[in-house]
């Protein structure tokens, strides 16, 4: 549309968003392969085995979310602070280094896959620790790039406005980056290994990432609804108190069975049971603001971004909150730990808590790039959000049914042995769940195709009145 001025930081954000969307595609592709292998185990056997497909599936997810998260910060940072991002050139170099490193890591994952049982493998090929398999050299590279990013954030905020959203983000991002260090050492003691590994995994996804989401969600509310900043920021601080208050010690729910003392049963049960509370708050807050602004006759400034934010609040509450709570108490977790339960929970939680809000942030970027004051949802956009959301919900329900069967048959009836495991895997209801999961995955992939198309074309396919309003505004200016 008409020329519009973006901060350099925001141009960098668009680069991050682009890679994020590409890696999102890779995530879905490898998820599809893994889902097929559950039903047809000979598919790509000894070529691209389940372990590799699943590793790339999850690593692509984590990395694309991190890309989108960094992108969203670079987008809102100059906007909130009111000044250009300090050190944006350095940030751009960091972006290219990070992207090259990610590409090399993925190629090694795919074509080298595994190495001999030596330290060299951990340095060059894979660390073999679920979710954070990236080899040590890449870990160090990631830390370096993140340090540049943190410097940019801190220096920019120091120079510009210190809004509540930025203050929360500054505190949160330093914790987020620091926690990664807890996953960068080797020990022969598998219990201590998993203890610190959960510091990274849990304190990311159930604490610092959640707070990040609350902060970025606040920004999106202000952008899409003109929500009152003071109210948004008050809620944000309440969210921080509740999320860190429950999430930090909620870490205990990973310390039930890994060689840790028994007191984690009580601590983990109590605090992780409280973890859904802030998610209800987030959910109420968004719907409340929506109703309030509608009552005043105000329109939504970016309908797709707001729609995805709504999916986020539902999905976060259902996926992280409800599905997490279902198996978080030790009395239940004794039987569900290590079954498809965490898979069911993980799919809806990551989608609801992180994927949806990152897509929302990307839509904010798309709108900003075109310089539109208002952006409506296109038909393709509706298809995308519907196919993806319904797909993930169906996937979650399917996995939950398989999980239930597995828990009852393998754990309840057969005492968790090799034989019990395979009897449960062959159970008709377990297999049916896996079949429906695959079908749901195809729906998500169709939705992804629609999403990519929509992100590329949404600003050109707006209804006439949007462009007329833009022209009128341009003339008065």
């Amino acid at each position: 549309m008409q020329g519009n001025r973006l901060y350099e930081g925001q141009r960098l954000a668009l680069k991050y968003f682009t890679v994020a969307v590409v890696l999102f595609g890779a995530q879905l592709l490898f998820g599809l392969i893994a889902a097929i292998q559950y039903l047809y185990p000979s598919f790509l056997y000894n070529t691209l085995d389940f372990s590799i497909a699943r590793m790339v599936h999850i690593n692509a997810l984590v990395v694309w979310l991190l890309y989108a998260m960094i992108g969203a910060v670079y987008w809102l940072l100059p906007d909130e602070a009111g000044v250009e991002v300090v050190g944006v050139k350095l940030g751009t170099i960091g972006f290219y280094i990070l992207t090259a490193a990610v590409a090399v890591v993925v190629l090694v994952y795919l074509f080298v896959q595994v190495g001999p049982g030596t330290e060299m493998t951990l340095w060059l090929i894979t660390e073999g620790r679920e979710y954070i398999e990236a080899p040590r050299w890449a870990d160090i590279g990631i830390v370096a790039v993140v340090l540049v990013f943190l410097y940019n954030v801190y220096a920019t905020v120091m120079k510009g406005n210190h809004t509540g959203i930025l203050v929360v983000l500054m505190a949160d991002l330093i914790a987020l980056a620091g926690l990664y260090l807890a996953g960068m050492f080797y020990t022969d003691n598998i219990s201590i290994d998993q203890f610190w590994w959960w510091w990274v995994v849990h304190l990311w996804v159930e604490a610092t990432w959640e707070v990040y989401v609350a902060a970025v969600g606040g920004y999106i509310l202000i952008k899409t609804l003109n929500a009152n900043r003071q109210v948004v920021e008050m809620w944000l601080w309440i969210e921080v108190a509740m999320m860190f208050g429950s999430g930090i010690l909620g870490l205990g729910h990973h310390y039930f069975w890994i060689g840790t003392p028994e007191y984690w049963w009580e601590i983990g049960a109590l605090f992780s049971a409280l973890e859904p509370v802030p998610l209800v708050g987030l959910f109420v807050h968004v719907l409340y603001d929506w109703g309030k602004e509608r009552g005043k006759g105000n329109t939504i400034k970016n309908v797709p971004a707001f729609a995805w934010l709504t999916v986020e609040t539902f999905g976060n509450f259902l996926g992280a909150g409800v599905w997490g709570f279902m198996h978080t108490l030790p009395q239940i977790n004794l039987y569900t730990h290590g079954t498809q339960w965490p898979a069911a929970h993980g799919h809806l939680a990551f989608f609801g808590a992180y994927v949806a809000i990152m897509i929302s942030a990307i839509y904010i970027g798309v709108q900003g790039k075109a310089g539109l004051k208002e952006m409506k949802m296109t038909r393709t956009g509706w298809w995308a959000i519907s196919l993806i959301t319904v797909g993930v919900l169906l996937m979650t329900v399917s996995l939950t049914l398989s999980a239930y069967t597995q828990t009852m048959v393998e754990r309840g009836m057969h005492g968790a042995t090799w034989e019990g495991y395979f009897i449960a895997q062959a159970n008709k209801w377990f297999v049916q769940g896996m079949g429906w999961r695959l079908a749901a995955g195809l729906s998500v992939i169709a939705g992804y195709a629609a999403l990519v198309y929509d992100l590329l074309t949404v600003t050109k396919k707006q209804p006439e009145e949007v462009y007329k309003a833009e022209e009128a505004a341009a003339q008065t200016a």
């Binding site: 085995d49 049982g117 598998i190 108190a241 930090i248 009836m413």
Partner: protein
């Protein structure tokens, strides 16, 4: 920057301070608990075993001993037992005797140094081969293949079990090592383990790790492991 709040409940300053305090207190508690847990989770030594001191994570020399996993009525769940069990008649509490040995690859005198070297190699191999992206270890990992927490004690690998018989080996450890090196030759299920290029030394080390891991006190996870085989077919 802020309007004067009408009540403390709508004061951003109040909530900011609350958030800071709550986060600080939670973080300090976590750090204190972590120190305590780390103390309890240090790997034991051969000396501990000689002195009959039970550690949550025992010395790797447990590979010289017979390992079992039995219900402890006192703790209300199963516990690992190393080298035979002793039951306290008053409380029912089960403890390890650290006496009954068994051969591991033909020896039961693996020194602490040798055993540590073995499990070091085993752990490195477990990571280098991405075991956790199909299996669960201590229940964490992927769900495409059986949990390995107590795999050493799995009846399928016992002398009467189908898996040991399949490899033609005369001991559990040899059967496991043969399988790990040639998984496609010994399909245990339609869902077969891929060939990961595991060498004989690596296989031996991984099996040592599995035996060592089965002796870790996991607070009763997994429940009823291998104890109710046949329960559903009891009438047969």
């Amino acid at each position: 920057m802020e309007n004067r709040p009408t009540s403390v409940w709508t004061s951003n300053r109040f909530w900011r301070r609350s958030a800071t305090w709550v986060t600080g207190v939670a973080a300090v508690l976590l750090i204190l608990l972590t120190f305590d847990s780390m103390g309890q989770m240090q790997m034991g030594t051969a000396e501990d075993i000689q002195n009959k001191v039970t550690k949550r994570i025992p010395s790797p020399v447990v590979i010289n001993y017979k390992i079992d996993y039995v219900l402890d009525p006192y703790r209300g769940h199963e516990v690992p037992v190393i080298g035979g069990q002793e039951v306290d008649s008053a409380t029912g509490k089960v403890s390890s005797k650290f006496e009954e040995k068994e051969n591991f690859f033909g020896r039961s005198d693996w020194s602490e140094e040798e055993a540590r070297a073995l499990i070091h190699k085993g752990k490195l191999t477990i990571q280098a081969k991405n075991c956790m992206d199909c299996h669960t270890l201590l229940g964490n990992g992927a769900y495409y293949a059986p949990d390995l927490t107590k795999a050493w004690l799995d009846p399928a690998w016992s002398s009467e079990g189908p898996l040991q018989a399949m490899t033609g080996a005369s001991s559990k450890e040899e059967a496991m090592a043969i399988f790990l090196q040639n998984p496609e030759k010994y399909p245990t299920h339609e869902r077969m383990m891929p060939n990961l290029g595991i060498t004989p030394e690596e296989a031996k080390a991984v099996v040592a790790y599995l035996k060592f891991m089965s002796a870790i006190d996991t607070n009763g996870f997994p429940r009823n492991f291998g104890k109710i085989k046949g329960a559903v077919d009891a009438r047969k």
